[in-house]
């Protein structure tokens, strides 16, 4: 019997290594797997490359990981926010590397990795600083920039419900990068608010099929009650 559910956050992230690349779902706090990130901090892995839309705000999530000095590089579209002081300080001190990627190119490059594509030609960014030095091509009268897939060793994702095969549904706009990151990482680890029996999730409505998920862990019930 296959059961991808593990019983603790600690167990879920046990095989992280120093130097790992990690995709982290979320757009701001919506969909950010804060509990899994806390487990990464406790695990102690360092020299990490984080791939996410933002670079953390406030004191939790990616901000906490940066504060704990575990992050070598961030690949994201929007690092600067009202409360991104932990990223800002390390960036200004030259202690963290930033690869700035337009949001749609970030999504497309993650999708390219998940779909096994070698590269993509995207119109976004053509003629701008963010395409400097990159190969371009005119296709049917339009200009495109060659961009490469973004792969990761791990994806940390927050979903609403999952079953022991790893099928997932999400909650509202907390879905954001979850489904595409789940496809792009070697190991996908998901925190869910509730675990349901196999067959409970409507097959017509499953957003991420279990093939893209390696491990699930349920967040503590009081947290789940707030999220539901």
């Amino acid at each position: 019997m296959i059961n991808k559910i593990v019983t603790s956050m600690k167990e879920a992230v046990a095989d992280l290594k120093d130097g790992a690349s990690i995709m982290i779902s979320g757009f701001g706090d919506a969909g950010s797997p804060h509990e899994l990130i806390e487990a990464v901090i406790e695990h102690g892995a360092t020299d990490l490359t984080i791939i996410s839309n933002n670079a953390g705000a406030g004191e939790n999530g990616i901000a906490a990981l940066i504060k704990a000095n575990r992050v070598r590089k961030v690949i994201c579209s929007f690092p600067r926010q009202a409360a991104s002081h932990h990223f800002d300080a390390r960036y200004r001190a030259g202690e963290i590397e930033l690869e700035l990627v337009p949001q749609g190119n970030l999504a497309a490059r993650i999708q390219a990795a998940g779909a096994g594509l070698g590269a993509i030609f995207t119109p976004t960014g053509y003629g701008t600083l963010l395409a400097e030095g990159k190969e371009t091509r005119e296709i049917d009268g339009r200009n495109y920039v060659l961009e490469y897939p973004i792969h990761a060793d791990f994806a940390l994702i927050k979903a609403l419900s999952g079953d022991r095969w790893g099928n997932l549904v999400y909650r509202k706009v907390a879905r954001n990068f979850g489904p595409i990151m789940a496809m792009a990482a070697k190991t996908t680890i998901v925190q869910v608010s509730e675990v349901v029996e196999l067959g409970t999730l409507d097959p017509e409505c499953i957003v991420t099929p279990g093939i893209f998920v390696n491990r699930l862990v349920r967040t503590a019930p009081q947290r789940a009650a707030i999220a539901a």
Binding site: R92, L100, T124, K172
Partner: protein, 212 residues
């Protein structure tokens, strides 16, 4: 000469958004356009973080932090609205499915080049978000901005000096003093506030302008 205030600018943009349009409103000033769309007409608001059919801000007791807009403010979903992941959201832009997006800008050139993501200041932490995808993806890009900077320089320019967001992507520029059409044939003035003349506008902007 009476400048349009922010509400009047938002109302002016809203007037040019037809029923049935799929629209993305950028962060900041463009978000205000939603307040002036006629309630009886169906206009579909898209938010890049994964929703279509976005409604107004909720009452305090109904705030749900899993239902926010691109500016990370709480919003609501209208009946018939839908959620989707980031790949689909940006396919809506890049794939040409969004009819109109409304963006703010530092500068727009008379040919429609847009600069709105970076001042180019060496100590600035760059952040781009979805600006470049929206600029080149939407069928029509409307820019909403004050015509002049605080120090009186025109933000409608012959050539952008700030780093570009997209090339030849803007079609209309809505400002506090005039509305312009921009593109391959240069800038044309669609309308001006009362008391302003075409020559007066030329003097303010220092760019070639024709009447529409």
């Amino acid at each position: 000469m009476q400048r349009l205030n922010r509400e009047a600018m938002a109302a002016r943009v809203a007037k040019d958004i037809p029923e049935g349009a799929y629209v993305n409103l950028g962060i900041g000033l463009p978000t205000m356009v939603a307040n002036f769309l006629p309630k009886e007409k169906d206009v579909f608001l898209q938010s890049e973080n994964g929703l279509l059919g976005m409604g107004p801000a909720p009452a305090d007791e109904d705030v749900d932090w899993d239902l926010i807009n691109a500016g990370k403010q709480p919003v609501t979903l209208l009946a018939g609205g839908a959620y989707f992941h980031h790949g689909d959201s940006f396919a809506m832009m890049r794939g040409g499915h969004i009819d109109i997006c409304v963006l703010g800008a530092f500068q727009v050139s008379v040919r429609g080049d847009l600069a709105n993501w970076h001042t180019g200041a060496p100590d600035a932490i760059p952040a781009v978000g979805g600006a470049m995808d929206l600029a080149i993806g939407a069928k029509q890009v409307f820019v909403m901005m004050d015509l002049l900077t605080k120090t009186g320089e025109s933000k409608l320019v012959e050539t952008c000096t700030y780093p570009l967001t997209g090339l030849a992507c803007v079609s209309r520029v809505y400002t506090d003093l005039a509305v312009f059409e921009v593109g391959p044939n240069g800038a044309r003035v669609i309308e001006m506030v009362e008391g302003l003349t075409l020559d007066g506008l030329r003097e303010l902007t220092m760019v070639p302008l024709e009447a529409a």
